[in-house]
Subunit: 388 residues, 4 copies
Amino acid sequence: MAGRNHLYIPGPTNVPHEVLSAMHAPMEDHRSPKFPAIFKPLLEDMKKVFRTEKGQCFIFPATGTAGWEIALTNTLNPGDKVIIYRFGQFSHLWAEMAKRLGFDVEIHQETWGKGIPLDKLEARLKEDKNHEIKAVLATHNETATGVTSDIAGVRKALDAAGHPALLFVDGVSSIASLDFRMDEWGVDGAISGSQKGFMLPAGGAFLCFSQKALKATETSQYPRCFLDLRDQMNQNKDGYTPYTPALPILYGLRKALDLLLEEGMDNVYARHHRLAEGTRRAIAAWGMKLCAHPGFESNTVSAVVVPEDKDAREVISTAFNKYNLSLGAGLSELSGKVFRIGHVGDMNDVSMLGAFAGVEMAMLDCGFDIKPGSGVAAAVEYYRSTEK
Amino acid sequence: MAGRNHLYIPGPTNVPHEVLSAMHAPMEDHRSPKFPAIFKPLLEDMKKVFRTEKGQCFIFPATGTAGWEIALTNTLNPGDKVIIYRFGQFSHLWAEMAKRLGFDVEIHQETWGKGIPLDKLEARLKEDKNHEIKAVLATHNETATGVTSDIAGVRKALDAAGHPALLFVDGVSSIASLDFRMDEWGVDGAISGSQKGFMLPAGGAFLCFSQKALKATETSQYPRCFLDLRDQMNQNKDGYTPYTPALPILYGLRKALDLLLEEGMDNVYARHHRLAEGTRRAIAAWGMKLCAHPGFESNTVSAVVVPEDKDAREVISTAFNKYNLSLGAGLSELSGKVFRIGHVGDMNDVSMLGAFAGVEMAMLDCGFDIKPGSGVAAAVEYYRSTEK
Amino acid sequence: MAGRNHLYIPGPTNVPHEVLSAMHAPMEDHRSPKFPAIFKPLLEDMKKVFRTEKGQCFIFPATGTAGWEIALTNTLNPGDKVIIYRFGQFSHLWAEMAKRLGFDVEIHQETWGKGIPLDKLEARLKEDKNHEIKAVLATHNETATGVTSDIAGVRKALDAAGHPALLFVDGVSSIASLDFRMDEWGVDGAISGSQKGFMLPAGGAFLCFSQKALKATETSQYPRCFLDLRDQMNQNKDGYTPYTPALPILYGLRKALDLLLEEGMDNVYARHHRLAEGTRRAIAAWGMKLCAHPGFESNTVSAVVVPEDKDAREVISTAFNKYNLSLGAGLSELSGKVFRIGHVGDMNDVSMLGAFAGVEMAMLDCGFDIKPGSGVAAAVEYYRSTEK
Amino acid sequence: MAGRNHLYIPGPTNVPHEVLSAMHAPMEDHRSPKFPAIFKPLLEDMKKVFRTEKGQCFIFPATGTAGWEIALTNTLNPGDKVIIYRFGQFSHLWAEMAKRLGFDVEIHQETWGKGIPLDKLEARLKEDKNHEIKAVLATHNETATGVTSDIAGVRKALDAAGHPALLFVDGVSSIASLDFRMDEWGVDGAISGSQKGFMLPAGGAFLCFSQKALKATETSQYPRCFLDLRDQMNQNKDGYTPYTPALPILYGLRKALDLLLEEGMDNVYARHHRLAEGTRRAIAAWGMKLCAHPGFESNTVSAVVVPEDKDAREVISTAFNKYNLSLGAGLSELSGKVFRIGHVGDMNDVSMLGAFAGVEMAMLDCGFDIKPGSGVAAAVEYYRSTEK
């Protein structure tokens, strides 16, 4: 089909052309004396995105899934108890991973559409007088449902309970796009990936650990090697890596960090909020609802609930096959019930409006009772009144 | 500003990523024994786009402006009479060029918004009993006004008059996107450029000449060198060029031709018609008018007339500065009176709808009395009912 | 410094421009209905490089180090005995990994410069009457010393002993450049990476497992998740991946496989042999020796032993800083004693000759007693007499 | 054939990867308010390469051949007398162009291998008491023979004769690589192209004119349009172009200028001298001669004369077909008598040494009586003793 594919899944996101061009470079010797001048500034500048001065950043040639595993296996011991609130496919997968890796996982089921219940968490932590819980696994942005949890609130719950558990945050679809504050929120392990807010292809697990978490790596008896933070620490301090790095990801990251920091992280957050709010206005104008309950709406992805007599998969396949528009599918128990519009990464007003129009076409084709142009109109009004 | 620029000028058009990647290649020896295997098929396959079997195609490392000059200086003699109908900035520029190059230019002024008046042309040709007119210069698609002229009709006028003048066609913004038929319409010199329907950057003048025109190069006394067709013919027959070719344009052209021919020229024309018709529906829904008079509407660019109390330049600068949306300006006497939406090249439904929404925002910002979403709604209905 | 860097390390290797261009593409939805048509043929065509019909190939967004771990943790149980011959930094690292991951590792130290001693191996396997050894870890090409072991011979030793141990082969710096035969040699797990013979950047672990090894994944109790073959198998069968794939690696792999298979694997092996043999002729002409003992010489990398009074690190830093020529360093106990010339991947005669001349300059600068041009002369004679 | 092509023709030269990546960018509106911020600095920074403060630079979407024509047709009148010394294919072509364009061309034949004879020129200019000669056409670097003429000397000859003729210099294969000084040498029109010292693909004619030459554009009656400097001047002053520019050339030029100016023009000249001198040492060691007579040797290309019983074309085809090494052919009367080694652009020591070794192989294959390694040895000694 002629014309470009229009990509509005919540990751991989659209890679800016400057980033792709930066990745298009010959290989070099990653053990040369020049390499640290490339690698060290990446680790330093990444701290500005994680909003940390005390933490330490890491780059693994892997994905966010590996990031989850790195956090667990480097700081805990086999059998350690961890707690997680599950309210979507990605919190589900993290919980499952922790089980498969042999941890004692206490799973609290929440409604898909809600986020971490801070009161319940605080109560549970207070209850854990012996501090058997070694880590709280918090999904900052549940990509499956378009739900953002309050991580500052999680920290408050921990503090209110005086609980020493490590706080691990899945920030794969939040960091570099949603407000995230490593130091201020007392996060011990923040896990992100290259392919969302960082606007790169997948292939980089970007992580940040607090000194407390790094200290825990010394006592962890969990067997590990490829994903061992200690090997990275040993080599990173001199500007090197324990094994061959994925150079294109590093070259692209340089450019992506330049773009993010030039825009300014607060502006990046504000832009994602505006684009998301326009999306929500469009959805409301169509007379439809988000999967996310009020107060939990994500600024990187919106999961739109289709009427009961409709199948969201049909909307998605129509959009893709007829209009070359890629939307996110409903995952697991949401399959067929929602479609997802990603508004994360290298996006602006006109990008989003094209997507809304495309979604309108696909929904109309599927017999949805919506007024053509209605969503676009609502977003047009919102965007133009809020754009500087 | 974050996010991509949205480019809807009538050229340069958006270059497909496959074409840009094909252009990203090391240089090679253009005099090597391997070079003809690259160059000759380009000239052959280009004939399928010009729709010719009898004509011969040429590639100059130059632009469409050079193409105009090539047609004139290679086939005519200084002082020869040529006739041109002028109804926009590009027909104006071609007429001016012919004057500056020392030809005897008979300019017929037409309303900007109309195309070549076939009756008048036929009458004039019949009047020219001594065949003093050596060439008819016909602007197939006047990019400034969004007007397409009937070239088949021009041929009919020539034939009806039994007139032997050469027929030169400016197809810069038509060939490879609008229906064009070199052989069927008896075109003697067709001039195009790389940066419109061919979906490449500027830097290539793509031309096609009939045997009659090529014969005329032998008798032309016009001094010429860089733009001399004879030097090209001499070298092209062996698969070479008279001076260093612009290799990236050739590498990109290979891919662009593959894309065009795989889609099929008739499908390319039909796609441009659909995208243009949707644009016209949007414009009508806004209650606005085209610069083009009925019957002359272009399928590659639409020039939209703004109300008398509005300045189109304001719409354009708002779109660009506030929304990163590039629209075409009104040129010369149309400055401030129209803005232009390009729908030529690597476009599809969702691409266009994003542009319409962006135009709505810019017009609303400028105080236009339009209903938000109205243009998009009209186009949504048209596109979805006509997309396969 | 002006001019290109000349990269002759044994990985990452030079990426052909066609591969880099193929990697330069927009992201797409890895869960779209079109994705399997991209992914499945990669897995199929990779089998032709591994020389297997019965095995199954896998692509992880990781590196060769991860590949080692995948082989161990997916097929063995914690505490299982494995045997490894250690004769260089990479066999050392694999042995260390196995220990860190909790396996019972029987390490047999061999001279750095030799490969797997087949007689000793056979004797040891015969001794293991109870089949306590669950896997033989064989380093096909020890990149640190430039030593290639006889994997067909390892299989014979296993067969002669009637031993059922799994045969895992580190083929990171051999597969896709040295003769390797998964099925014929009865390899159970072959581990490679994207950044050597596959001519891609690092970021892809390319693996192949026999049915016997795949069967073992069902009984393995080793905790694993990111590197779990079962998740890949589940998703790969439908053409998908368990988490976001590194798309540029996939796009580049498509092109790299096309290049390799078009050349033909036997031709690829022959080319690597020729380029390596020319390198050895140059080294001999300099009056220097390989680290590899006779019969073990690698066709992908040559480790050159410097005279006792010289420091190889000085040669390497002179080559890099003064001539923009990147050579491989001596690792661990070979530090300062050897420098390494990589001749793996996208190389040809003239590429190698430039490197030899650069090495001559660096050695002369470091006071080596060699005759200028001597190495080049020897290689020139060899290459021109053997090139078709 | 596997491995990269080794390109040592005197243009197009190897494009640095940073330049190719910079060219790989989406199109933009060349009439946007942002465009002048891209275009104007290019014209300004180019002045540093032409070494001018008083002159004005121009960029045409064309080639060096067009540049020759621009100089002639914009400043002279039809029939004007010009003088040119002809001593190679490119001075020949420029002379032929001037004739074809209707100028009165006084051609002085010189030995191919020598450059402009300053004494004779001065004598001729003094003889021209009525100043009928309107322009001196000087080929700075004759690419066909590898001969560099003394342009400072040409200026002295003009001054000694008190002659007001315009001085036009073909600097296509000299500017940005050989010492060139627009202002100091009183050059009136300097013509270069993108594909040599500027390290870009062909497709850009880069020019610089003195105020005296620009003044002459006002009185020239020569008909011109596409190549009219006045149109460029009109538009360039505001940062725009008279027709669509070749954007990739502009994007690449930005990077190329950054690379050149960062290295420093004097360092660029010195590097070209060193690389050329090493080439000459290699040629001497082979017992062969340059086409260039002593004192005229070019630092961008060396034309090597083969023994009378040999055919240089065989060397070239062997190098290309057997070794993927591209050398320059002998042109016109030098066909078969010389092969040319380009050492212009993005080159360094190791690049050149690879070429010398490749040339040795090809010559040996053709039965040349040379000692393998001899040329490389001589160059190795020279390069390593002169590299910092």
